[in-house]
Symmetry: D2
Subunit: 145 residues, 4 copies
């Protein structure tokens, strides 16, 4: 299962090359991640209230095609790796009307408490851990086929 | 007395018009404000540790000339209004080699505690209040003459 | 007539005070402006293709209440002043479920060609000028009553 | 040879976790890349005037330690891979007074003309190609020893 997020490119997100600046995609990934967590019946702000954080430890992006001002964007988000101490989300970004992703990426996080110390999520909150499993995808691309 | 901050325009700060996006100037104002406070022997992070915040309640900008990627920028910051409960900073932004400001602005803040509740700064921390007075300028422009 | 834009607060838009950073509101204003122009049957990117730009010359914001991560936001945009050479948009930003605006503001623009030189819009494109008149509001607040 | 860039963490760059938001590091990488190119006697804006662009096709970041508001930051930039059609820059980000990088990363770019079409840089501008070779490092870390 993947979660879907719709966005419209903001003027501020463009740069003088006339395309969306690459630093914007990690922000869109985060919008996708927020929606996945909300879609799971949680809410990221609720997670933070529970004293659970998801600090990033790694990020990868591949930029295949540019996006432009006012383009309608779809972010598909899933979980590509899940262990008691870590979770890796994967993302694919599409322009409306195109079937190929324009950008794909992953973000790797540790399950942490509010002091940013790692916690074993499977023991700490097995319910949340189980929920995240339902978003597990082998590969976002494969699911599309 | 004014405080001076040097910056170089970042590529990410440009937009598809080929100029610095207007939402960047409030960030540069904030850099100037941070430096003014540091210049006064405080540090904004120190203020926050003391439980003092400066939430914004108003902002004004005038955009006269554009700035471009790699331009060297000078932010001049001062205090234009100071009361026990409020402080207004003023800013002028210059491009290296030019005598006219390209952007000018003001930000109005309330002295607040860490719950964002207003405090009377003259009573709460008269030392900090006094320090801020030394940055009082009638008008940044006039000082230039 | 006002145009309405819905947004959800992004994590990246928060700062260490735990609220939306003030430099984000000009970006939301721009989203509102983009939608107003699209709502009028134009599109800002189309305007730029016509060689028409709307560079900012002034901006004002009043910050009344903070917004937080995941808040659902409504931006109401209108035109508060229109002359052959200038246009001033006004904005009110609401949190879902609240009737009072949390932030209000204005942005003043010049009608310009693609070299950022001013043009008389009433002569240059009377059709677009007329369209903008339909979004004229005395005051966004008054319209609410 | 590496190029060095000094930055100070801006308030706007923090998020509600109280640390620099991860989307800021790609922007600091870009500041480092800009300075490397300038350090080489070119200037990125000059490259763009020559009709040469460096669109990103890939990015990787590892986040080891957080950075905080007002931290003094050092970005070390080098070239880790160079072919006639592609260039990969590598970056290490340090906090003042620490010897371990807090964030490291790479960005992969294609040499492109102003229509974003790939060019063979070794043929097109052998002088620029040669210059970039001087920043070639096996690994930024190793150079430190």
């Amino acid at each position: 299962m993947t979660s879907e997020t719709k966005l419209t490119v903001r003027y501020q997100e463009t740069d003088q090359m006339g395309i969306v600046h690459h630093s914007v995609y990690p922000i869109w990934f985060e919008c996708g991640r927020t929606d996945l967590i909300k879609h799971a019946g949680l809410a990221y702000s609720h997670l933070e209230n529970l004293g659970i954080g998801l600090p990033l430890i790694g990020m990868e992006c591949k930029f295949l095609y540019p996006a432009h001002y006012e383009d309608e964007i779809l972010v598909k988000s899933g979980v590509i790796n899940l262990t008691p101490v870590r979770i890796t989300f994967c993302y694919e970004i599409f322009k409306k009307g195109y079937t190929k992703a324009i950008v794909s990426g992953q973000t790797e996080h540790v399950w942490a408490n509010d002091k940013l110390k790692p916690v074993n999520m499977k023991k700490y909150r097995p319910d949340i851990y189980k929920l995240m499993e339902t978003y597990f995808v082998e590969d976002v691309n494969h699911e599309e086929k």
